[in-house]
């Protein structure tokens, strides 16, 4: 029972990281570094709560994805069309997200940092599996978004590795000049990658606000957008790798909730578990991870 609860908690903590990390895979595979993912999660959590407050959770999720996509569009215009430094643009996106949500929150809810309570999607019980005692915590009262996130892993993997779209996306990230010579619209592919990351990050933010907490609170993303970037790198730019990495992060968080202050280990060390574990894994287990060759490099036609 304890182990089942631990896994369920890990999964709940892993899902926002996973969704954003999947987004990160798409944008990086298209050769655009996106550290604005955190900001896209923030707007997702705010607009998700806003939409859910007025028109229900489904509309909230859609609005969150649209808001994330809008922020991604700004990032894409900056970096792909104007070839602004991708890191700088990402930082700007994060600041814009913080400022705009606070401004809108004051304007709409008349509260700077929180929304009213909102309700999420109806929870799902998975029929057959919920009969098994061990799995019970994992398969009862599950948020549909968790299932969606898990389903998106093989789908993303298939899209990236097995479809024409995926091949083009990867080629643009590896060698845009070659791709362009072969008649692939490099700009279109890069836009597609960045926008997908915005949609997924927006969904991830909405998960936090609607599915997990039932309320938007400023700063509720707690840097998970950055952790998702780490998960993406750690997962070697592959959706399946991102899944394992996210689960590891989620697991270590869940574990730190369960280590009780015992007097011997100071409290601060318990809260360090997720970070220490991450460092250990990154330095010890991951031997070598290589990203797309042209990631972070702006592409301009006619330049070598």
């Amino acid at each position: 029972m304890f182990f089942g609860e631990l896994l369920a908690s890990s999964l709940r903590m892993a899902v926002p990281i996973l969704l954003t990390a999947l987004g990160a895979v798409f944008t990086e595979r298209a050769g655009v570094v996106n550290i604005g993912l955190e900001g896209m999660m923030i707007v997702g959590s705010f607009w998700g709560a806003l939409g859910a407050y007025y028109y229900g959770p489904y509309f909230g999720l859609l609005l969150a994805m649209a808001a994330g996509m809008f922020m991604a569009l700004i990032h894409a215009i900056n970096t792909v069309t104007f070839r602004v430094d991708q890191v700088v643009s990402g930082v700007a996106i994060n600041i814009l997200a913080y400022g705009s949500t606070r401004f809108l929150s004051l304007a709409i809810f008349n509260m700077a940092t929180t929304s009213p309570h909102v309700s999420g999607l109806p929870k799902i019980n998975i029929p057959v599996l919920s009969g098994i005692e061990f799995l019970k915590p994992l398969v009862t009262d599950v948020s549909p978004v968790i299932i969606l996130a898990l389903v998106l892993v093989p789908i993303s993997s298939f899209v990236i590795n097995r479809t024409v779209f995926g091949l083009r996306l990867r080629s643009v990230g590896e060698n845009p000049l070659a791709a362009d010579t072969l008649g692939i619209n490099v700009f279109k592919m890069k836009y597609a990658g960045v926008l997908l990351s915005g949609i997924l990050s927006g969904l991830s933010g909405a998960y936090l606000a609607l599915e997990h907490t039932g309320m938007y609170v400023e700063g509720m993303t707690q840097g998970e957008g950055f952790i998702a970037l780490a998960a993406m790198i750690f997962g070697n730019w592959e959706p399946k790798g991102a899944l394992w990495a996210s689960l590891l992060f989620g697991f270590s968080e869940a574990l730190s909730f369960r280590v009780v202050e015992g007097g011997v280990v100071p409290y601060q060390f318990i809260k360090m578990i997720p970070y220490v574990l991450t460092l250990l894994v990154l330095t010890g287990v991951v031997k070598k991870s290589t990203g797309p060759a042209a990631s972070g490099v702006p592409y301009e036609r006619g330049l070598k």
């Binding site: 809810f109 940092t113 700063g219 707690q222 968080e253 909730f257 202050e261 601060q268």
Partner: protein, 367 residues
């Protein structure tokens, strides 16, 4: 190429507009206020307030302060003019906001929360003519003539009562506590709660957890919920939180598990949703609103005093909440709670404020 340039410039302008709009959100309100007030002619007392992490709308600590400010603004409408500020997300600009208000000729400025302690100490020395009120924090060496009043609460006394309530209502003999930022202030809540629970049931088992070690811990409902869920799954059936906006997650967890949560600072039954209300046993009231209101009142009446003001059970500065939603729920334990309250006020029960005193409390009560 030209079209691109125009687009680029337009984009920059939009971003700048957004930033400027963000900066001036509050100022717009302020200017309107000032314009509206000019005809009355008479000089009004200017009262400013800077919120803590979590900000207005945390349904807890800050909202309680806001309630006091609002009430004062209404009652003394012709004498004072109020304005409030929210610090940036990380709270780095607390000191600037205090200074900004002081420079703008405010007469009385509140810093809501112990994180303001250093900043008020500094700014109050720079502006000796401005009065400051610090909630939850103590600055050394103040007296009646200082320009700083520290408004302190005996959170441990209120927590003792809700701890007793939790222990009496628990069927499993296990209860929980979720704190926000690990700090001596929040530990007072924890220790008071544990002592209260042990007082009515020496065999009670208490799980205790903190969300984090920084101010961010007061606005992390995701972790708040997970910690509470964990305690519920381990068998606790009442969980008390002292974690500001993170407590939203604790209450959500209680509603999901159909167990009890105990709110903090404000009466959280009132702000909860219809579905959550049956699962909020009570709230530990910390009447920040009373403290804010009384301080403004003393200022209006011209007898503001510096130094330390302590609000405990005896002053009705802390207590437990009773409302339409939990009236029946706590009807059976209310007599006992009132009895304990009486004993604390009379000094028959000495409520511990930290872990050392807690251990002594246990030793002296249960040999």
């Amino acid at each position: 190429m030209n079209g691109r340039k125009i687009l680029a410039i337009a984009l920059v302008l939009v971003l700048m507009a957004a930033v400027l709009a963000g900066c001036s959100g509050n100022k717009g309100q302020q200017q309107q206020n000032q314009q509206g007030q000019q005809p009355s002619g008479e000089e009004k007392l200017k009262v400013g307030l800077v919120f803590d992490v979590g900000g207005r709308g945390d349904l807890s600590f800050n909202d309680s302060a806001y309630a006091g400010l609002e009430r004062a603004a209404k009652d003394f409408a012709d004498k004072i003019e109020v304005e409030y500020r929210e610090p940036s997300a990380g709270g780095q600009d607390r000191e600037q906001l205090l200074r900004l208000l002081a420079e703008n000729g405010f007469d009385l400025i509140f810093g809501v929360g112990f994180l303001f302690t250093e900043h008020i100490q500094k700014v109050s020395q720079e502006f000796p003519d401005v009065k400051f009120a610090l909630i939850d924090g103590a600055i050394d060496g103040l007296d009646e003539n200082s320009n700083v009043a520290c408004l302190l609460f005996k959170e441990h006394e209120g927590s003792f009562l809700v701890g007793a309530a939790a222990a009496m209502k628990s069927k499993t003999g296990k209860i929980g506590f979720v704190g926000g930022m690990k700090s001596p202030l929040i530990e007072r809540f924890e220790v008071g709660y544990m002592a209260g629970a042990k007082y009515v049931n020496p065999n009670i088992e208490i799980y205790s957890d903190y969300i984090g070690t920084t101010g961010d811990a007061f606005k992390d409902p995701v972790k708040g919920k997970e910690l509470a869920l964990n305690q519920f799954k381990k068998g606790a059936d009442v969980v008390y939180h002292a974690s500001g906006a993170s407590g939203v997650g604790v209450i959500e967890a209680a509603a999901a598990e159909k167990k009890f949560a105990i709110g903090v600072d404000s009466d959280q039954s009132l702000s909860a949703t219809e579905e959550q209300r049956p699962y909020i046993l009570t709230s530990m009231l910390k009447r920040v609103d009373v403290a804010v209101y009384e301080t403004i009142k003393s200022m209006v009446e011209g007898n503001f005093k510096g130094g330390y003001k302590v609000f405990g059970l005896a002053e009705d500065g802390v207590g437990y909440a009773e409302n339409d939603y939990n009236k029946e729920l706590i009807a059976d334990i209310k007599p006992k709670l009132e009895e304990i309250k009486e004993k604390i006020v009379k000094g028959e029960i000495k409520v511990p404020v930290d872990k050392t005193e807690y251990n002594e409390f246990l030793k002296s009560n249960f040999k």
